[in-house]
């Protein structure tokens, strides 16, 4: 009885217990993010929507759920060509959109003056099952397409089934392995082109950094890393490698989210430098500046825009 170990209520073991890593409850893992959004943070920081020329967006809410949007885009657009030089033709477009947003059902419709029409639907069929559909109609033949997605969200996994026109079938699955690590895979089959593929992805995220990697049998390897330096600043880098065409691109960028603006800058291994600045002038009034210079191709793109509403 004299050699009995004293009860653990003494103050000395407390710091030792604090150092000891927390026991992971593998039955209670967090839900991972969807497979197609595995590089979300890196994409957000490195791939803003650069544009050339002028754009003006106006969104007006008619009531709480229904809103209309108008946007005017003017500027040169690139035309794909065989020669190394890029050919640009000036275009001007007006886009009219209608949005219906409800927690259970979202509908978006867009129509452009050149005849393109697109529609998106996101509908919660049950608490865990979500149906997404998007369609695009154009007056050019073979450019219209439609797609249905069914997403099932489990407690620590997500699956998705994709059905598209042209015999496109795809499925993906992602599972949380530890509280920080999630692993996933996908298969797809494109009936029209008689092509099929496999892909794997991994993502490791803590509240300070996110690392993600993806590999597909099409020869694509994508790696991304985002480090959150402070509350306002994050640095991101990514690398894209195509095994088939043997080309590789790496880029490095910063993302500053300040009180009145958001500034994203990027430089990549092709000698392309770009920056995207969104400045909040007033409540619901944003001014956008976009710059992209490619020294190798001698392609310089500058744009400015205004966004009103939202």
């Amino acid at each position: 009885m004299a050699t009995r170990v004293p009860p653990p209520a003494t103050p000395s073991p407390v710091p030792a217990e604090a150092i000891k890593p927390e026991k992971v409850d593998y039955m209670n893992l967090p839900c991972p993010i969807p497979y197609e959004e595995i590089h979300r943070e890196a994409m957000m920081s490195l791939k803003p929507e650069h544009f050339e020329g002028m754009r003006f967006d106006f969104t007006k809410g008619l009531n709480q759920k229904f809103s209309l949007s108008h946007s005017v885009v003017m500027g040169p657009t690139e035309v794909p060509s065989q020669s190394a030089e890029t050919i640009k033709i000036p275009t001007a477009n007006y886009e009219f959109g209608a949005n219906f947003i409800d927690p259970k059902l979202m509908l978006f419709g867009r129509i452009l003056t050149d005849g393109r029409l697109s529609a998106r639907v996101k509908c919660d069929l049950s608490e865990n099952l979500t149906m997404k559909a998007n369609a695009q109609l154009t007056n050019e033949p073979h450019m219209s397409h439609g797609m249905f997605n069914f997403d099932y969200k489990g407690s620590d996994y997500r699956t998705q089934l994709q059905l598209g026109n042209g015999g496109l079938i795809g499925a993906s699955y992602i599972q949380s392995v530890t509280p920080h690590l999630s692993l996933g895979g996908e298969v797809f089959w494109a009936g029209q082109h008689r092509k099929s593929g496999l892909g794997y992805a991994a993502r490791y995220n803590t509240d300070k950094m996110v690392a993600s990697g993806q590999i597909a049998s099409t020869g694509m390897v994508v790696l991304g890393y985002v480090q959150k330096v402070s509350e306002k600043v994050s640095l991101a880098t990514d690398m894209m490698y195509n095994y088939m065409s043997r080309d590789v691109t790496a880029s490095f960028g910063y993302d500053y989210i300040l009180r009145q603006c958001r500034l994203r800058g990027k430089i990549d291994s092709n000698g392309c430098t770009s920056a995207y600045l969104e400045e909040r002038l007033n409540m619901g009034l944003n001014f956008i500046l976009s710059a992209e210079i490619d020294h190798k191709k001698k392609d310089y793109k500058f744009g400015f825009g205004l966004t009103i509403g939202e």
């Binding site: 430098t273 770009s274 210079i293």
Partner: protein
């Protein structure tokens, strides 16, 4: 005499200009000129690329950081004016003239101009 003299000068000058040292020197000078020109051109190009990259990536960042610092300063000032006023000092604005009051003893205000 003069003709002979001229002949000597021309002979000497032609023998100098035809010597291998001069032709070598000429080619070295033209090579050096070519290299210098190329070097200058490539440095100019590098400076141009570096300058434009700086203009795109760093200048907006500096401007926005400066603005952010200004906002923070303004916030700090406002907080010190409205939130927690300095305990021993206050200022009264009368007829556009700011009179600073300060105290040595509690409840006993002195005027500082």
């Amino acid at each position: 005499m003069a003709a002979r003299n001229e002949g000597v000068i021309s002979r000497v000058s032609s023998s100098i200009s035809e010597s291998s040292i001069v032709s070598k020197g000429k080619s070295v000078a033209s090579d050096a000129g070519f290299v210098a020109k190329k070097l200058l051109k490539s440095t100019g190009k590098a400076a141009w690329i570096a300058g434009t990259t700086f203009l795109i990536l760093v200048v907006p960042l500096i401007i926005e950081m400066d603005r952010e610092a200004q906002y923070n300063e303004l916030d700090l000032q406002q907080a010190s004016l409205l939130g927690t006023p300095a305990p021993q000092k206050m200022s009264v604005d009368t007829l556009g003239q700011t009179i600073k009051l300060f105290t040595l003893k509690p409840g006993h205000w002195e005027i500082e101009t």
